[in-house]
């Protein structure tokens, strides 16, 4: 008995010591420090890691008074709200969000806690933007809008249609994720297909949301045949993939994540494929050595301009449009169709030489920056 109590006390003391050790490792924050909280839903993807590396290893190094505080993986709206409240408790002045469970609640929480808020990647729904665009704490949004997602899908579909491909398989990634729904709708339209008899964006998008995926029986084709469709990722995904590849489509079009999941299988099957993803090293290898022939991608420093917008807001010089609304600028993807164009974009955006470097960002950080200068910076051709 005594031995057990001794063991127990030893355990408690050890745990307490460990806790105190961790507590003692704390850093004191400088008074003039700008602390920016970053909400993230994806913590391990190559794109997410590249974004983080850009902020922590380039921006924080070049703007020495800036510190980024990252969340762990956020899975729902309650976790997002709680994370923002913790940012406020930790003395952050602003929040950049890469998590989208409920952006309205994120904004409400930021407003309540007097934190500046910006959408790091992607955009608010139109109605949401209307609601919050005049809030002094809403800095803005720079990223692919849903229209841009549709256009990216459309361009990808059209690329293969123009190439004369006669049969394709489509991977819908994580539909009903809105971003993937819009891309998939664009792919169908770009391939010259109809969905449920519709060929207009909104009608196709609405039906895909309703069907929670692409119902192949509703796809109307003119030139290009759809030999197979699947979505999601689980125990049977590769069975579905190999079943579809067995029908010998000429191309495999993905609206996201295919390069993460299926590169080896598609290279092995010798089928050309495409994806909307990022300029990562894995994708570079797939394009130079494999069968990846089309990639619409984000690059790590594409999140630079929104950081600049946050800096202006925190420094008391928020950038607003002529009506006093928050920034809202759609940012296009870069498209690579061969190893050379891929190398051009990826090597131009690495380490200490990102596309949005300090020199470029400094042109829009200041006390008299206009909305138009931001638009020019973001929409300039970076290819």
């Amino acid at each position: 008995m005594n031995r057990k109590i001794t063991k127990l006390l030893a355990l408690i003391l050890t745990l307490s010591l460990v806790a105190c050790l961790f507590a003692g490792c704390s850093k004191k924050s400088a008074a003039e420090e700008i602390k920016i909280g970053v909400l993230v839903a994806d913590v391990s993807g190559e794109e997410a890691l590249a974004f983080r590396s850009y902020y922590e290893n380039y921006i924080a190094k070049n703007y020495s008074n800036v510190t980024f505080v990252y969340t762990e993986q956020l899975t729902d709206a309650a976790a997002e709200k709680s994370a923002i409240e913790k940012f406020a408790a930790q003395g952050c002045q602003a929040v950049i969000s890469f998590s989208s469970s409920d952006r309205a609640i994120q904004l409400d929480t930021c407003i309540k806690n007097k934190l500046y808020y910006a959408v790091g990647s992607g955009m608010l729904d139109d109605a949401q933007f209307e609601t919050y665009k005049t809030s002094e704490y809403f800095v803005g949004q720079i990223g692919p809008s849903m229209d841009t997602e549709y256009e990216a899908g459309y361009a990808m579909g059209k690329y293969f249609a123009d190439k004369g491909v006669k049969s394709v398989a489509i991977y819908g990634a994580f539909i009903p994720n809105p971003m993937h729904v819009y891309r998939a709708a664009g792919v169908l339209a770009g391939l010259g297909m109809t969905y449920g008899g519709a060929s207009e964006k909104d009608a196709i998008v609405g039906q895909i949301f309703g069907d929670q995926g692409i119902d192949t029986s509703k796809v109307g084709t003119s030139g290009v045949q759809l030999t197979g469709y699947f979505q999601g990722f689980g125990d049977t995904t590769f069975d579905e993939l190999f079943g579809i590849l067995g029908q010998n489509p000429e191309a495999f079009l993905s609206v996201g994540m295919a390069t993460t999941f299926f590169t080896d299988a598609l290279n092995g099957a010798n089928i050309e494929f495409s994806d909307i993803d990022s300029f990562t090293s894995a994708n570079g290898k797939a394009m130079s050595e494999g069968k990846l022939v089309y990639l619409a991608g984000k690059y790590s420093s594409s999140i630079g301009p929104i950081f600049a917008a946050i800096m202006n807001a925190v420094n008391g010089h928020p950038v607003r449009d002529a009506e006093g609304n928050a920034l809202s600028i759609s940012q296009n993807y870069l498209v690579a169709t061969d190893a050379d164009s891929f190398a051009k974009y990826s090597t131009a955006d690495q380490g200490d030489t990102p596309i949005f470097n300090k020199e470029l960002l400094d042109t829009v950080i200041g006390d008299s920056i206009s909305y138009d200068s931001f638009v020019s910076l973001v929409t300039a051709d970076r290819s």
Partner: protein, 329 residues
């Protein structure tokens, strides 16, 4: 003489194991205060955040104690919470009536719980299996509703102003207290609680004593359903919207909370209502301490690994008392 000494030792050991979860909660609370203060963070805000994070888990876990006391295991509670909240949102958006929304949430939650128990009773399927099936079905249906109705937003919700007046500490504390008192009363002062513990301790003996297993299983699931309903309502009070991932982690967190609270997973006579509340808040405190002290850049998942080590340590300590007995059940 030797017998008396042994009894004293056993009592001391039992007392120690009973008090240990509460002591752990207090230690964790102290460590959190120390860690937050040493970093210069606002303690008042942190305490409010932790209460908000813990209250839903504590409420749902308190109801779940009734199921766990039977030695059963319900993994569908998170999905039930999501489904109840989803239907509640739909009802509010159709009727603009908060009372009707609340009634619906409770009705759906209790209904889902009953369905699990009735399926298990009627078809003689292990409860665990029916709850796994329920989890899949409820999650899928809720996701279908949310994504269909939510469209590009990816979620559905009610206007924040409807529940904003309730999003405060006194209201949530009152809800937790009232539900805990109700559960303590039913569990400790009625024959329902005694028989549930008896069934959990020794189902064969309980059946031979004339206790109807199915009836008490249904009562246990109804109480768990009430907890789920309250949890779903409090979830909406905190974030008045639901997405397919809402309450996704509650199912497993309940298990961890109950173990942290010092209750054996096998249920039986050592089941305690307070285990859910003590364990729920201990778990949330531990998570927050780890998130503060472990730099997120050090590697994702480290805090989960440390939590798992704590979990194993707690299971070891709480099992000290009954591992050595001849007839543990």
């Amino acid at each position: 003489m030797a017998q008396t000494k042994l009894t004293k030792k056993n009592r001391l050991r039992e007392l120690l194991v009973t008090l240990l979860p509460i002591a752990a909660l207090l230690i964790l609370f102290g460590v959190l205060c120390m860690v937050v203060s040493s970093r210069g963070y606002r303690l008042d805000m942190y305490l409010r955040i932790i209460f908000n994070e813990g209250v839903v888990l504590a409420v749902v876990a308190t109801g779940a104690i009734f199921i766990y006391s039977l030695g059963s295991f319900d993994i569908s509670l998170g999905a039930s919470t999501l489904f109840s909240a989803t239907i509640g949102v739909l009802v509010y958006n159709s009727t603009q009536s908060l009372p009707l929304m609340i009634l619906t949430i409770f009705g759906v939650a209790v209904g889902c719980s009953l369905l699990s128990s009735v399926l298990a009773s009627v078809f003689h399927i292990p409860v665990f299996v029916t709850t796994v099936a329920m989890m899949s079905v409820l999650s899928a249906v809720a996701a279908q509703i949310i994504t269909t109705k939510g469209g590009a937003l990816g979620g559905i919700g009610i206007p924040a102003a409807v529940v904003e007046p309730l999003d405060n500490l006194p209201f949530k504390l009152a809800v937790l207290a009232v539900f805990a008192v109700l559960c303590v009363f039913v569990f400790n002062f009625t024959k329902i609680g005694r028989r549930l513990k008896f069934l959990g301790s020794n189902p064969v003996c309980a059946k031979l004593s004339g206790i109807k297993v199915n009836v008490y299983a249904i009562i246990a699931f109804v109480m768990a359903g009430l907890g789920v309903g309250l949890g779903a309502f409090l979830t909406l009070v905190y974030t008045p919207s639901v997405t397919p991932t809402t309450a996704g982690s509650i199912g497993m967190n309940i298990l961890v909370a109950i173990v942290f609270g010092g209750m054996p997973i096998s249920g039986g006579s050592r089941s305690r209502i307070y285990a859910a509340i003590v364990g729920g808040f201990s778990y949330i405190l531990l998570n927050n301490i780890l998130k503060i002290v472990i730099d997120s850049g050090a590697g994702y998942g480290i805090s989960q690994i440390v939590s798992a080590v704590f979990f194993l340590a707690v299971v070891y300590v709480t099992s000290m008392n009954y591992r050595t007995k001849l007839l543990p059940r």
